[in-house]
Amino acid sequence: MQVFLQTLIGGVTFGAVYALVAMGFSIVYRTMGLVNFAHGNVVMIGAYAASNLYMFAKLPFPVAVAVAIAVTALIGLVIERVLRPLENKDFDLMLIGTIGFGTVLEAGAIRVFGATGHAVPSPVATAPLDVAGIKIPTYSLLVIAVAAAATVLLGLFLQRTKRGAAMQAVAMDHEAATAVGIHVGRSNAMAFAIGAGLAALAGGLIGPMLYVNPTMGGSLGIKGFAAAIFGGFGSMRGAIAGGMAFGLLDSFAAGHFQEYSELVTFLVFAAIVMVRPTGIFGETTVNRA
């Protein structure tokens, strides 16, 4: 029982981060029908920006993360602007373009920050809570709370604001959206900026849990992407459910299957996607590619 609950806590914490990464993938996909393969690398840039500002510029952690979100949102805008001429013309080139951006970001990080990376001290330096022998790291609670708050805010933005509604409209039918006067390019830019901002939030939060280095985006990107597919690519609810499911699957597989955990995790993933190709909350709105 103790092992079960402790594994659950570890799984939920990483699940929350995967959910943030998955949401970033999904918001770009639902709006443009594009998989942003640079997303994992944007997570890494966000982690670097937040940790550098926190550790070396001595900014308070929340401020450091906020600035990191702004910086990476800007990177998102740049990526979208460069790829914009290809929108609705050559989809494959756009995909390759995002891969290229990812490589550039990773190589740039090695150039600027060095290959070695750094560890980030936890911003909440208190002992883990002890609930009947189950240890809950306080930082994990913070991560879960922030991820939940970000999810709620994004939901409100998409459903309650005019710009958010416009993005939904573009996601459903970009030609009709253009016809009613919605600027598709601006909407896409916004999706990229929000996606990159979410990446920075995920990166900033995961920094103190892991080790910040130029290649950290690889596995986070793949797991976040898989989580997005798992939940139903393009669906925001799906991204959250997929992220959580993937975090838990990962943790429990590690306990039961030891060194084969990764294999089991992705086998289960493959099996579920075969049974339900649209994922848990598969939406039919996204059909741009």
């Binding site: 092992v3 402790q6 990376g117």
Partner: protein, 381 residues
């Protein structure tokens, strides 16, 4: 430029021609005997393991620069070329074929046992001696006459560790957590064998993947067994994450492991408080251990603006040994160079090198403890 260079070029041409015409000589080797001696350094400069590759390259570069400054090998400069294997065995084998085709006499690197293992057969066929920074027992098991290690194998690390923990400290309740990569699996097998020879059976033996981030399940299972010692067989960052999460889960066991746990990366990833008291088996404990290591770390600091550590030190030792052997062969490569490396007796930073038939030159490590974020030597029990 041109007028100054021309006589040298002409002279070398004449030397080359005369050398070629000399009877009973291997013309191929003599033909290049006047230019720089080409030595390849193959190490990860990108990807997950690039930090190791960068350290190794700095150690090698320092040794070569010093040798070149002191006049090179028989008046010839050593040309050190760096190749990026990305920590990937496939890239490594391609590079092995590349250097074999381009006249390199020796190869220094790589930092990854898996990459070195993949390259070994090609370098053996090409007759290119390789001094690697890998330490998997599988490297020694190859018994290739062209493969040498610049550090002890995991067997030595873990035998020293088991001796200290079990024989010295009397710990019997020992738990293992290790990854299933080449390094982690090697550590696991070596430490397990060292325990078995002492009739100690581990109370837990958990395996993880090299890429894993969350160890709650394994560590909670280990915590329930309440071990005295937790042996960690993983690279720097993963060892740090395991240490951090183990302490967060309230695991009180003494943490023990190999060289990765003696690094700054381990200590900062775990957090200094969590790393406190970790027991490390390493052939190079600190930059202040001896006069030689003090001199080395001062030159390293001056050259690269950062503190020296184990990987740079062992790569430096390996390069020194190669340079010494090149002096013996007067710059020639092939089997004579391999034999010369085997014959070198080098008083290095990691200890006294004396190579055996399996290419291992060092057979001892020391025990260190992490105290206040720094590694300090412990007189082994």
């Amino acid at each position: 430029m041109f007028p100054a260079r021309f006589p040298i070029a002409a002279a070398s041409l004449i030397v080359t021609l005369t050398a070629c015409s000399a009877p009973g000589q291997q013309s191929g080797k003599q033909a290049v005997a006047t230019g720089p001696i080409k030595v390849a350094n193959i190490n990860a400069q990108s990807g997950q393991l690039s930090s190791l590759g960068k350290w190794e390259n700095k150690g090698v570069k320092l040794a070569v620069d010093e040798a070149n400054k002191a006049g090179g090998v028989n008046g010839r400069q050593i040309q050190l070329d760096l190749f990026d294997d990305q920590g990937d065995p496939t890239v490594g084998t391609n590079l092995a074929r590349k250097i074999a085709g381009e006249g390199y006499v020796a190869m220094l690197g790589t930092a990854e046992s898996a990459v070195t293992l993949a390259m070994a057969p090609i370098l053996k066929d090409a007759g290119i001696p390789n001094i690697t920074s890998g330490q998997s027992p599988k490297l020694a098991a190859l018994k290739s006459p062209f493969l040498f290690l610049n550090a002890p194998t995991s067997v030595t690390y873990d035998e020293t560790l088991a001796k200290y923990l079990v024989d010295g400290k009397g710990y019997k309740k020992i738990a293992l957590i290790s990854n299933n990569g080449t390094y982690g699996a090697g550590e696991h097998d070596a430490f397990l064998a060292a325990l078995k020879s002492r009739n100690v059976t581990p109370i837990a033996d958990e395996a993880v993947t090299p890429d894993q981030k969350d160890f709650s399940a394994s560590l909670t299972a280990i915590r329930q067994k309440n071990p005295d010692v937790l042996f960690v067989g993983a690279e720097e960052v993963e060892s740090g994450l395991i240490a951090k999460q183990a302490r967060e889960l309230g695991l009180k066991a003494v943490l023990a492991g190999g060289a990765p746990m003696g690094t700054d990366v381990y200590v900062t990833t775990a957090g200094a408080d969590n790393a406190e008291g970790s027991v490390i088996s390493s052939p190079y404990l600190s930059n202040d251990a001896s006069q030689a290591s003090k001199t080395f770390s001062a030159s390293y600091q001056a050259a690269f603006g950062e503190a020296a550590e184990l990987h740079g030190a062992k790569a430096y030792d390996g390069a020194k040994i190669l340079i010494e052997a090149l002096k013996q062969t007067k710059g020639a490569g092939g089997r004579p160079l391999a034999d010369a490396i085997r014959a070198v007796k080098h008083d290095g930073l990691l200890g006294d090198f004396a190579y055996d038939g399996s290419g291992v030159g060092i057979h001892a490590t020391q025990i260190g403890l992490i105290k206040a974020g720094k590694i300090v030597a412990e007189s082994a029990g």
